[in-house]
Every structure is written in structure tokens, then in C-alpha cells.
């Protein structure tokens, strides 16, 4: 495992292009595009103000930089560096900007969710979509980029509009039986839309592409409801994480619940492997200190190393007591992610912030649990295989695979606090983002990288 040089970064804005060739990163008002393999700078763009949002177009030809403070969107072309485009939303303001799947339209949401403006790069046309709902996840495109589903609010009722992306025509418009729609999400096959209510009510509705209601699911009443929703890549399962600390898996045939994954604080089943991160202070062996001074001692001194230990059951995990008088209590399933082969599901319960639970979907049971020393910030599956990368805001990155678990120290002067990470689509490299810097972690291919940049550290 090799690590690249550390590069500057701001606002955690660092993205691989969809084709995997480039890596865009932002430093204040500058946008830097590098080759994803060599990390050589390909292009350097300068925006008018600090960049707050960056997004690649689906064909990897354009990059969108949103400057929300100014109400501006600047678009850059990778092929034609001299080409530029600037969209000014003026006094209407800007709170969100995104590409349409065809990569030729930009959807800007104005302040107060007054409307969504659809700007075309092909023609000078502008379309408006009124009454978008200000919610957690109000816009969703199908995987194939044909359709857009949009949550709307009119006359105190929730609606969903399905639009055809090619010409922004309204295909379907229907009201949803929700109190306060919180989010919508297409199934990966683009035929089923999941819509769920706000946390005050446990309710998830499933709509067909043609607007028919397929099913509704309600696990319980009178308690805080859904916190997170995730489709399996095969569209077979819908995982619904809720505030009661459980994940419920629905199937795609009857839309009934298959199973329920609880997240208990103690694990008793001896079949479950519990990896516990354990700190290990550098061993103070006299022989080692004497002569010759070893490389580890000469190199950057990592104050604490850590390793995984397989804890023997029963294991009790650290739990947080939620403050009942605060809004958004730290309970429930805050994050879920299916592995690309739909075989595993990784979850994080907010009341047990240091643990990641990995469930076996084929056997519908808990497979492993990872307990970190600090709260889990982010985890993401390798897009090619069942490999999960986890970061906890420390100077380490953790990898889990069915074969085992590994904790890797990120080398570098000072502390490199990994706040977020994102995989290259080949699964060969991993971008690790800290507050001010980022570096790449190469997992498989060492040649080329090593010659170009030199090995910054070798932790295997």
C-alpha cells in the first residue's frame, strides 16, 4: 500500500472524474485537475470566488463549480481550457447546483426553494421548475439518466413529479400520502421510486415509474421513524434504517420485510467476528533503541499505532446516551451502504458511533462488527469488490474485507486527519481527505506511481 504526496485542499472538495481518468480538487478559488494515475496537473482553473461545490459532468468533459455566496456557477471544459461558462442566478440566490445526467444541463436551486432553473449548455434555453420541496433529498435521477424525480410541495401536500431528462417534459405527477416528505430515491434499475416521510412518522412508499403506488410499509407508529434509506445495487433489497436502531430489509417482489437487523450494544453470538481497534504504543525494547537507530525511529514518529484485535464474545460496545431534550438525537441508523455485489451491508448506529456493523445479506445475519477507537466519520465500499474503507477523523484508514481487517497509518509530517474518503472507480486507489490536504492511497498498482512520485511510505 503506497501513499501519494500530500496536496492542498479546501472544503473537502476532491472528486474523481466518472471515467476515472482525472481528479479534481479545489484550493480556495482554484480548481486543479490532475491525472488520476500520475497526479500531474492537467488543468488549472481560476474561479471568481471560493468554490463551495464541485461536480463532474457524467461524460467527464465538464466540471461545475458552484459559488453559492455569489449565486454563481462556473463551468469548465477539460477538452477546451479556453472555453468557459458562467451562470449567474442574480438576486434569486443559489443553494444547490447539479448536473443533469446528460451533462449538458445544469439544475440550479434558488434560495428559499423558489424554483429550479435548468440551464442548457447546448442552447440558450432556460427552464424552470416551480414548487420544489426543501427536503433532505428532493431530486433524484435514475441511473440511466432518463428520468428525474422531484419532490414538490403545493397547498400543504406533497407531490412527486417525474420528468423526462431529455426534454424536461413532465411525465407523471402524483401526490404522495405523506405528512412531510423527507426524501425520494430511485431504485438502481430505474423502475421503482422509494419515498419516505419525515422522521416524525415511519412510512415508506414505493411507486412505479408510471406513478402507481406499489406498496407502503410502516414498521411502527408513535415514534421517530426513518433515518436512512439505501437500495441494494441489484435493486432487490431496500434497507430502511430507523431511529429505533434497526435496519429493515424489504424485498422487491412483495415489498414486505424480509428481516430486521437490530444493533444491540452487546454481541453474544460467537459466530460474529468482532474486530476491536486497539492502540499499541511503540515498543520500548532496549535492543532496538541501542544500535542502529531503526527506520521507524528515524522516520516520522507516529505517536500511536493501532491494530485490530479479534475480541472474544460477549463484547459490549460503547454506547452514547442520547440527550432527550435535544433535536436530532444521536440515535438510530445514520448511515448504510450496500457492497457493489449486494452481498454485504455496512451500517452505523448513531448511538454506537464507534462501531461499523457488517451484515451478510445472503445469510441475513450479522457477519462482523468493527469497533474503532473514535467515532466513525465515513465509510465507503470499493466499487469493484467487497472491501470497505472507513475513516474516523484520525490519521488512519481502515479497510475491511471478508478476509479480515487492517488499519493503516497515513504517513506524513504532522497529523493527517482523515475526515472523508472516496474510491477511484477501479478500486485501485483511494483519496483520503483531511481539512486542508488530501493524498491518494494506492492499493494495488505500485509501479508507475512509485517511479513518478516516490514512495512516501510503505505500510502493508
Amino acid at each position: 500500500m503506497n501513499f501519494s504526496e500530500v496536496f492542498k485542499l479546501s472544503s473537502l472538495l476532491c472528486k474523481f472524474s466518472p471515467d476515472g481518468k482525472y481528479l479534481a480538487s479545489c484550493v480556495q478559488y482554484r480548481l486543479v485537475v490532475r491525472d488520476a494515475n500520475t497526479l500531474q496537473i492537467c488543468q488549472l482553473y481560476t474561479c471568481l470566488d471560493q468554490i463551495q461545490h464541485v461536480e463532474w459532468s457524467a461524460d467527464s468533459l465538464f466540471i461545475l463549480c458552484a459559488l453559492y455566496k455569489r449565486g454563481l456557477v462556473q463551468v469548465w471544459s477539460l477538452e477546451q481550457p479556453e472555453w468557459h461558462c458562467k451562470i449567474d442566478e442574480g438576486s434569486a440566490g443559489l443553494v444547490a447546483s447539479c448536473w443533469s445526467p446528460d451533462g449538458r444541463h445544469i439544475l440550479n436551486t434558488t434560495e428559499f426553494h423558489l424554483r429550479i432553473t435548468v440551464w442548457s449548455l447546448c442552447t440558450k434555453s432556460v427552464s424552470y421548475i416551480k414548487y420544489p420541496k426543501a427536503c433532505q433529498q428532493g431530486i433524484t435521477f435514475t441511473r440511466d439518466g432518463r428520468y428525474l424525480a422531484l419532490a414538490e410541495r403545493r397547498d400543504c401536500k406533497d407531490y412527486v413529479s417525474i420528468l423526462v431528462c431529455s426534454d424536461w417534459q413532465l411525465l407523471r405527477h402524483f401526490d404522495t400520502d405523506t405528512q412531510d416528505l423527507a426524501g425520494i430515491e430511485w431504485a438502481p434499475n430505474g423502475c421503482v421510486l422509494a419515498a419516505w416521510d419525515s422522521c416524525l412518522e415511519y412510512k415508506i412508499l414505493l411507486y412505479s415509474l408510471d406513478g402507481r403506488l406499489l406498496s407502503t410499509f410502516c414498521a411502527y407508529e408513535w415514534s421517530l421513524g426513518i433515518k436512512s434509506v439505501a437500495w441494494s445495487p441489484s435493486s432487490q433489497f431496500l434497507a430502511v434504517g430507523s431511529y429505533d436502531g434497526k435496519v429493515r430489509i424489504l424485498n422487491h417482489v412483495t415489498w414486505k420485510m424480509i428481516t430486521e437487523f437490530g444493533h444491540p450494544a452487546t454481541i453474544n453470538n460467537p459466530k460474529i467476528v468482532v474486530y476491536k481497534e486497539a492502540e499499541k504504543s511503540p515498543p520500548l525494547v532496549l535492543g532496538r533503541l541501542a544500535f542502529p537507530p531503526p527506520r521507524a525511529a528515524a522516520g516520522p514518529l507516529s505517536s500511536t499505532e493501532s491494530k485490530y484485535e479479534v475480541a472474544s464474545v460477549p463484547v459490549s460496545l460503547q454506547t452514547l446516551k442520547p440527550a432527550p431534550d435535544r433535536a436530532n438525537p444521536r440515535i438510530g441508523i445514520g448511515a448504510m451502504a450496500f457492497s457493489p455485489d449486494s452481498c454485504f451491508l455496512a451500517t452505523r448506529s448513531d448511538s454506537v458511533p464507534t462501531a461499523v456493523w457488517i451484515w451478510d445479506i445472503q445469510k441475513l445475519r450479522l457477519l462482523a462488527a468493527l469497533e474503532q477507537l473514535s467515532a466513525v466519520r465515513c465509510f465507503q465500499w470499493d466499487p469493484r469488490q467487497a472491501r470497505l474503507a472507513i475513516c474516523t477523523g484520525g490519521s488512519k484508514v481502515y479497510l475491511w474485507s471478508p478476509a479480515g481487517c487492517v488499519s493503516v497509518q497515513v504517513p506524513g509530517e504532522g497529523d493527517f486527519q482523515v475526515l472523508s474518503l472516496c474510491w477511484h472507480l477501479s478500486g485501485d486507489s483511494l483519496a483520503l481527505l483531511s481539512k486542508d490536504h488530501f493524498c491518494l492511497c494506492f492499493l494495488e498498482t505500485e509501479q508507475g506511481v512509485g517511479t513518478a512520485f516516490g514512495q512516501r511510505g510503505d505500510h502493508t
Binding site: G90, L114, C156, G190
Partner: protein, 617 residues
Amino acid sequence: MGDWMTVTDPGLSSESKYISQYTSETKMSPSSLYSQQVLCSSIPLSKNVHSFFSAFCTEENIEQSISYLDQELTTFGFPSLYEESKGKETKRELNIVAVLNCMNELLVLQRKNLLAQENVETQNLKLGSDMDHLQNCYAKLKEQLETSRREMIGLQERDRQLQCKNRNLHQLLKNEKDEVQKLQNIIASRATQYNHDMKRKEREYNKLKERLHQLVMNKKDKKIAMEVLNYVGRADGKRGSWRTGKTEASFFLRNEDEMYKILLNDYEYRQKQILMENAELKKVLQQMKKEMISLLSPQKQKPRERADDSTGTVISDIEEDAGELSRESMWDLSCETVREQLTNSIRKQWRILKSHVEKLDNQVSKVHVEGFNDEDVISRQDHEQETEKLELEIQQCKEMIKTQQQLLQQLATACDDDTTSLLRDCYLLEEKERLKEEWSLFKEQKKNFEKERRSFTEAAIRLGLERKAFEEERASWLKQQFLNMTTFDHQNSENVKLLSAFSGSSDRDNPTVHSRPRQKKPHGAPSGSPVCMSKLTKSLPASPSTSDFCQTRSCVSEHSSISVLNTTPEESKPNQVGRECTNQKWSVASRPDSQEGGYSGRSSTYANSHVEKDDLP
């Protein structure tokens, strides 16, 4: 006080004494008065009271005391101490008899009283103790009563308190319920209020948004614009086209078409997947079915015998089904038609399998129960190991048997002669055994025969000797008779001789026989000796014939025994039974007169001759 009194005046003390005496005695008798007078006047103070009292009657007051006593006694119902006086003037005489009687009576009374007193005292004691006991009991019971009363009061108090508490709690509960109801009402009202407000706010917000939208959009904001260097082509290469009223409808239709196409594709994909899954499941089902049939068919003989008709019919159904369903074409039919059949057959098979498994389970459990009944529980593993071992052994034994059978067959085919001889030997051995037994039997019989023969020979020898003696006797007798014709005196002495000779041969064996002829001969001899003579002479040829017969018989027996000895077992076998029979007849015939019989027979013949002799005259 007494001390103090004695210290003071003796007169005073005497006075007090007097008073005390008076108080105790005043009502008892007038004599006491007198005595007091005496005491006061004459009797010195040194005399003690007791001695003074003992002197109730003095010389002076005899009369008075007698009269007093008389008075007292009469008042008590005793007869008067005085004799009946005729005249009043005459002085009454003291009747000593009456006095004595009275005294005696008094003494008796006294004794009685004493006894009664004693009884009363003991009763009193008893009663006193009873009383004490009862009092104790009473006290105890009283205490108990008190404590229980106290307890009861305490319990009542507690009960009261609890009831009070309960009432309070009820009240509290009621209050709480009311509170809850109130709160629920409040919540509901708040919720409605909140919803209402929310809606109002949202409407206001929407209005504001609308207004803002109008304001922002109508301002003709110069800023809202897009600066593009040059427009780029579409990703799909098409040119962007403006929507017009005409095209919109067609666009819409096209979009609908596309949407439905996508949906259709999805459904088709899913159907295909389901079909594939179905096919796989069918395959699995078929395989399972086949396996089930193959599993169940070897057992079908047993269940048919064992269980009732249902299983049998089911099995036959299965066989039919198997025949039907094994045809591949059936599987390609839509599920509708096959499903019922298939599910039914599977269900039946499953039922059979289940019952079979249950039966096995029962057996296992039975075995287990039996196993558990034993003291040491054999673990299942051990059991299985044991059964395996036993099975192995059985297998080995079977193999052994098989090989042995094979070897035997081989031998039979390879060397016939040997085997036959062997077989014969086998049979002969058996026979030998039997023959041995017979042999031993024969030996015993032979021994018997030998004994008999010996006895016979002895008898024959004796007979020979006797005959000789007889002949001699006869000769002598004839000679004597011959001589008798000449002199009769000689005859007697000769007769005695003959008799002695006769007895000499047989006296040790048969005394009766020995004595009889002695006694009878003298009788018959004088009476009818000539007749007897003639008779004897007549019978003489017969006697040797009997002895001859005996001899021949013994000879025959001798010969037969010898022949038995000489014959080899093989040869003797066929004749054996017959000879044995003759032997037995023989033995039966001979045994009653083995040694003595011979003589008795002879004696009988003699007796007969004697009888004849007796009858003759």
C-alpha cells in the same frame, strides 16, 4: 409486744392470759369458769395451761364434771351416763357401762372423724393443687387472649391503614388518569392547533414565495444570465430543439412509449429471472422426487406389509406419478396443470417420509428410554460404534459362512469319494455311538447270562450228583426191595438211609423240602410203598428227562451267550432283536427259578410225586 408485756406487770400479764383463755373457752364449758376461779384463787401461776386443762376432773368436782359430761353427751344424742332413776329424789347412779360405751363410741367417732379429716385434708390438698393448676392455666389463657387481642387490634389497624392507602392510591390513580386524559386532550388540541398553524404558516410562506418569485422574476434581473463562450453539442449528437405546441403532444407520447418500454423491459427481465429460478427449482424438485422415490421404493415392501392400505395406495400412486412425471414433457407444461399433481405427490411422499422418520425417531427414543432405564447411560456415539462393530462382525461371519459353503461345494465337486467316506464316517460315528450303548447293554446282559449259566451248570452238576445218588438210591432201593421180598425188617433201615442221602444233598438249600419227605415218607412208606414204587419207577424215566432238559437248556444258553460274544456288532445287528427277544423270554422263564427254582421245580415234582403218593392210597 409479748416481750414488752412480760417485762411489765405479772398481774397484768396474767390478766391478759386470763382474757385470752376466756375468749377461747368461754362458750365451751362452765367448768372453765370454774377452773378460772380456781386459777384465780388457788392455783399458782407457775402451772402451765396444759397441765391445768388435763386436770379437768378433780376430786372435788367429779359430780359436776360427770353431770356436765352427761349433759353434753345427751345434747349430742348419746344415752345418759346415769342409770334410769325411779324417783327424782334419789341420787342418780353413774352407769359405768354407758360411760364405757359412750367412750368407745366417742373413740370410734374420733377415729372416724380423724379419718374423715385426713380424707378431707388430702382432698383439700388435691383440690388446692387443682386450683393452682387451673389458676395457672387461666392466667396463661388470659395472657394469650390478651396477646391475640392485641394482635388483632394491630392487624385491624394495619388493615385500616392499608385500606386508607389503597383509597389514596385509587384516588391518585384516578387523578393521574384524569391528568393523562387532560394531557392527551391538550396534546390533541395542540397537535390540531399546530397543524393548523403549520398550514397557515405554509400558506403564508407560499404566498410570500410567490410574491418573492414575482418580484425577483419580474424585475427583469439583468444579472440572471448565462455567459457561454459557445454552445456545446449534445452528448448524443442531436441538436437541441425547441418545444412547440405541435411537437409537445408527440413528445409526450414518445416519452410515454419509452417509459412503458422501460417498464416492460424491466418486467420481462424479471419474468425471465423468475422463469429461470422456477426452472432451477423444478429441476431440484424433480431430483428430489427421484431421490425420494428411490429412497422409498426399497421400503415399499415393508410398509405395505406393516402399515395399512393408505400408504400402500399412496406408494402405488407414487409409482404412477413417477411414471407420469418422469416424462420430461410434463415439466415443460405450464405450472398450472402440473402443479396440483406435483404438489400432491410430493406431499404424499413427504408424509410417508415423515411417518417413516417419526417411526425411526420413536424407535430411537424407545431405545433411548430403555437405555436410560439402565443405570449407566450409553452415549449415542458409543452405541453407534457398537452397532457398527457388530455389523462388521455380522458381515465377517456371513463372509465366513459363505466361504465355508463355497469350500464345501468345491470339495463335493472335486473329490466325491473322500466326501462320501467322510460322510459315511460321519454317519458311522453316530452309529458307533449307538452301538456302543447297545454293546454295554449286551455286556450287562451277558454278565447276567453268565451268572445264570453258572447257576444252571451248578444246578446241573447238582442234578447230576442227585441223579447219581438217586440212581444209587434206586439201585439200593431196588436191591432192598429185592431184599425185602425176602426180609421186611431190613427195609426200614434202608429207607432211613435213603432219606438221609436224599436230605444230605438238599438240606442246606431247602429245609422244608428236606423235612417234608422225612415226615411223609414214613407215612406213605408203610401204607402204599409198592404202589409208590411202581409210580416212581414209572416216573424215573421222566426225571432224567427234566434234568436233561435243564442241561440242554443251559447248553443252549451257553451256546447263545458264546454266539453273542463271538458275533461282531455289524453282523449281529439284524438278528439282534430276535435273539434278544429269545434271551428275554429265556430270562423271564428262567429267572424266577434261577437257583432255587431249579430245586423248587424239582421239589415240586417231588411234592407232586408225594401228593400223588398221598392221593394214591
